[in-house]
Subunit: 135 residues, 2 copies
């Protein structure tokens, strides 16, 4: 248990470094790419929901979104029913960035699991499912 704990911490650290270097290559900041990632994997959403998912305040997000709009990565559209709200969604350019980032992640997953046999991958997948449910 103790060793598994250390392995998880090490895994997290290495994933962090990897993410940082991959993001740097895009020319955008970590916060910016993270925003694109969330929008890409969950689809268009209101500012409030996006802020919650990113773990930041809406005030911070307002500024961040403004930049991303100027970069042409995302677009703001009024909410159909709630006129207080704004829907934020990826532009085609934003979608392209998300897909690119996704491919990087997939490649990494393939790279780090290449010495695992099919049975281990199966157990690993099930274990991640169970662990993610417990957070």
């Amino acid at each position: 248990m103790h060793s598994l704990n250390n392995l998880i911490i090490e895994f997290y650290d290495k994933l962090s470094s990897w993410e940082q270097s991959v993001v740097k290559d895009t020319g955008y900041s970590l916060a910016q790419v993270h925003t694109i990632e969330v929008l890409g994997s969950h689809g268009p959403m209101r500012m409030k929901e996006l802020a919650d998912r990113l773990g930041i305040t809406t005030g911070t997000l307002t500024v961040q979104v403004e930049k991303l709009v100027q970069f042409g990565l995302i677009a703001r559209t009024p909410h159909e029913v709630d006129r207080r709200s704004i829907l934020v969604e990826l532009t085609s350019e934003g979608t392209a960035l998300h897909k690119h980032h996704n491919r990087m992640h997939l490649q990494l997953t393939e790279d780090i699991t290449r010495h695992l046999d099919p049975e281990s991958i199966k157990v690993l997948t099930q274990s991640f499912e169970k662990m993610n449910r417990e957070f």
Copy 2:
């Protein structure tokens, strides 16, 4: 493979959120606790090495270390042989914080793995070992 990739991303996100909330409770910042963590798990080291492990410049670290010294969490001692260098190490208070954080991590690992049978934990541990080696 595709689903495993998504599970890893989800796992990373959840671990991130967890870390953020645990760190917030300590009253110190994420960067500060991270510095304590590295010093706690690897022992005293030079500024340069610490900066490299944290993925920041020595300039940034100089400022950060100054604060942590004022908080009484770490101490600076001259390097025995290289007079350009400074050794940074945890004080007893810093060690206490590290131990506390470590206990939190261990508790989390126990919590998220509680529905895994011993055999799965074994495979999971071996898989993490192999994956960490491939980064």
